[in-house]
């Protein structure tokens, strides 16, 4: 007789898979990738390829030689980490630094904890911040965006809007005076400004967000709470002293806020599990980002903010549980 398969229930599955989610995010990143290729040309190609290839390679090598377990490189998470790492660094970064960054991201940030699903911190950001602190010189030289450029290491460099703002304010210039030196909001929206390879085009990133929301890869809670918090906080500051603090739109469209809020803070592994927790997490990221940007030494703070809140995720998960059925009791009238 045909041997029957037995297993505990349920006997059907939604068909969702880790792979589908990861490749879904990669697809969502394609518009931003296109924008970065458009503005940074060869540099973007080199940086992206190096990061993706080395992340996947390191994951494979560590699993093969150190952990001696089954390889999971095909699930797309390493490639995604590589892609996001590439999106977070200048497109003229020397290859050897990118390789170190990938090693740190995958080796320290992910595989030391046992691989996919175990890492408390966002691997790509671990890699990025490690590089930022280790190689501050190279990590703060931003190539100027221009249509289809073919230079890589010797691309002309310029400051990011955020550092121009920070420098300007430090020199006592007023916000409006500095804004005149900067690209318009529309230009910022479509990515025509200096910055990391993948962070510049808010429009492209928002397309990715829409895609992920529709495919139900992520929920709105984290991105929305980050964006709203940043807008509200900078809005308040701006209202209190318009000459000292740039407005919300500026903060949202510059630097990595969009990339961070949409793609990095939402990383499943290092974000909270409950909706309430996600909102707390998002609000925390928003506040810390603004504090670092406005009061701290770094012009940009979202990477740090996400990492810091990653640290709090276990606490959030422990004390902020999803609403349980029957918790809010509506009993019968006695």
């Amino acid at each position: 007789m045909n041997r029957l398969i037995v297993s505990p229930s349920p006997h059907v599955h939604s068909g969702d898979s880790v792979k589908k989610n990861m490749y879904g995010v990669i697809i969502a990143l394609l518009p931003a990738l296109a924008a970065s290729l458009y503005y940074f040309g060869l540099g973007a190609v080199v940086v992206t390829l190096t990061a993706v290839v080395s992340c996947v390679f390191f994951e494979w090598a560590i699993q093969k030689f150190l952990l001696k377990n089954e390889s999971t490189i095909l699930d797309g998470s390493a490639a995604l980490t590589g892609l996001l790492l590439a999106f977070n660094i200048p497109s003229n970064l020397p290859i050897w630094i990118i390789i170190i960054g990938s090693l740190v991201a995958i080796g320290i940030g992910k595989m030391s904890f046992g691989g996919l699903g175990n890492n408390p911190f966002n691997p790509a950001l671990v890699g990025r911040v490690f590089m930022l602190i280790s190689f501050p010189v190279q990590m703060t030289l931003w190539p100027k965006p221009q249509t289809i450029q073919l230079e890589y290491l010797d691309a002309t460099t310029g400051a990011t809007p955020l550092s121009i703002m920070k420098e300007g304010l430090a020199n006592g210039e007023s916000v409006s005076a500095i804004m005149d030196k900067l690209p318009s909001y529309t230009e910022l929206f479509f990515g025509n400004s200096g910055g990391s390879a993948g962070e510049i085009a808010a429009a492209a990133l928002l397309m990715g967000l829409a895609y992920m929301l529709i495919r139900k890869i992520i929920t709105w809670h984290i991105p929305a709470s980050i964006i709203v918090t940043i807008a509200a906080f900078t809005g308040l500051l701006h209202l209190s002293s318009p000459d000292q603090y740039a407005g919300p739109l500026f903060h949202l469209l510059t630097g990595g806020v969009m990339l961070g809020a949409i793609f990095m803070a939402t990383d499943y592994v290092s974000s909270p599990m409950s909706k309430k927790g996600m909102i707390i997490y998002g609000v925390g990221i928003g506040i810390i980002t603004v504090v670092i940007r406005v009061f701290g030494a770094y012009p940009e703070g979202i990477s740090f903010a996400i990492l810091i809140m990653n640290g709090f995720v276990p606490l959030i998960d422990k004390y902020v549980k999803p609403k349980r059925f029957g918790e809010l009791v509506k009993t019968a009238k006695a």
Partner: protein, 286 residues
Amino acid sequence: MNVVLITIISLGVLGALAAIILYFVAQKFKVFEDPRIDQVEEVLPAANCGGCGFPGCRAFAEAMVKSDDISALNCPVGGADTMKAAAEILGKEVKAADPMVAVVRCNGTCENRPRIAEYDGATSCTIASSLYGGDTGCSNGCLGLGECVDACAFNAMYMDKETGLPVIIEDNCVSCGACVDACPKNIIELRKKGPKNRRIFVSCVNTDKGAAAKKACSAACIGCKKCQKICPFDAITVENNLAYIDYNKCKLCRKCVAECPTNAIHIVNFPPPKPKVEKPAEAKAE
């Protein structure tokens, strides 16, 4: 010299103060921890496996120090040597506990026991056993998912891929009993290691009636009581269609072995058979 004087005075005052405070502290917080606990703990294997029935090696050490009669205590991992060493520290006597070893009481290899279904759930014997009796006709036998192997902290078990059954590596087994507790089917038993490591046991736990048992597994104990009748030492009892050999009574005469029609009785570590006719499939004698 002035400085030296001030130094001495201020330190002296401080010292005196500290002395007084600490004196009172010491009065209030008299805690006596027998230093022998540490010493005993030192000689214990530090496996913290719980095989002794205490939460950890330290708790066991405490128990040893505290109890007057330690004959009931035994660290299976360390064995007689450890117990002797510990007893020496305490100046107490140990009776050498009989060394034990785990045995797997199921011989439902893929050959003996045809599979009638294919399990596709979580790899856990407990989960599988809460779902159904198993993927063979025998609902008592080993499920083959290796929960016992995972439980063993001493690398003394592995799953034999051919037979689908766990195998105990006698030399590594410290008889901690973790596997016994882990198995939801109560298949593993700790038995006396026996003289020259020789022992005899019924390798089956099936309680079905003879025909059903036989149908499910060709090596099953069918409860025919032949062994019981032949045993000169009354070591064998048959209950619920299943024979059991009491290791305290068994004198290893091997009469029952040949008697068993299904070869359900296993012998371990005996020299190879002399002229005798065919031998039961000795699965785990090696």
